[in-house]
């Protein structure tokens, strides 16, 4: 069965520090992977998806099939990055369900 694991419930860093939010998955095929984010007083939104290979707000995430991971990274955290982050997985068909991790709260202190 497909599963997404975000081992950290809370990650606290100081502004300017590097950030890595961990996401591991279990899936035997070729998954699609996503990071969703919810900032305070905003709606849940898609941050990035692995097939786009883009960097959004300085965040990147590389799919590592060997380690079955899709960690979210940013070299220098900003206070405005404080939010809830959810990793999600899906099979490739566009009708397939997203499967969510339990979320990691990122707190960036000044």
């Amino acid at each position: 069965a497909q599963r997404v694991t975000q081992p950290e419930k809370l990650l606290s860093v100081f502004k300017g520090a590097p950030v890595e939010l961990k996401c591991n998955y279990s899936y035997s095929g070729s998954p699609e992977l996503f990071w969703y984010v919810q900032y305070s007083r905003q709606r849940l939104q898609l941050l990035l998806r692995h097939i786009s290979r883009e960097s959004i707000k300085g965040f990147t995430a590389d799919l590592n099939k060997g380690e079955t991971s899709f960690h979210l990274k940013k070299p220098f955290a900003q206070e405005e990055d404080s939010a809830m982050y959810y990793c999600a997985l899906s099979r490739p068909r566009n009708t397939d369900k997203l499967i969510f991790g339990t979320g990691t709260r990122l707190q960036v202190f000044p």
């Binding site: 699609e32 996503f34 969703y36 919810q38 900032y39 305070s40 007083r41 905003q42 709606r43 849940l44 898609l46 998806r49 404080s82 939010a83 809830m84 959810y86 999600a88 899906s90 566009n94 009708t95 397939d96 369900k97 997203l98 499967i99 969510f100 339990t102 979320g103 709260r105």
Partner: protein
């Protein structure tokens, strides 16, 4: 123990029918949500209830009506189903309103197929 459970997981039905998707949370949360996963796998909020009171009502057809008999349940009723309603629908809950940065707990999704 499943924290947020929605039923059914899969629903296949004919155009024009009326159907309901049920959602229950046993976390004691005050706020519940319905999201729709579109074809690009973007999640879009449809409705949110806080303590049985509707607080978010996005632009969705009025064929969609949420019903919250108590704060542990938020059901989604859809009238006169159309082909375009085929999607995955997620229920979620949070202790308080998620826009205050509360953590969301998601159900496993209901895949609706309208034929």
């Amino acid at each position: 123990d499943t924290a947020v459970s929605q039923t059914p997981k899969y629903l296949v039905t004919q155009m024009g029918n009326d159907k309901s998707i049920k959602c229950e949370q046993n976390l004691g949360h005050d706020t519940m949500y319905w999201y729709k996963q579109d074809s690009k796998k973007f999640l879009k909020i449809m409705f949110s209830y806080n303590n049985k009171e509707l607080i978010i009502n996005e632009t969705v057809p009025n064929r969609f009506s949420p019903k919250s008999p108590d704060k542990a349940h938020l059901n989604l009723h859809i009238n006169s189903l159309e082909l375009g309603d085929s999607a995955v629908y997620f229920c979620a809950s949070s202790q308080d309103w998620a826009e205050t940065n509360e953590k969301l707990f998601f159900g496993s999704g209901t895949q609706l197929s309208v034929l």
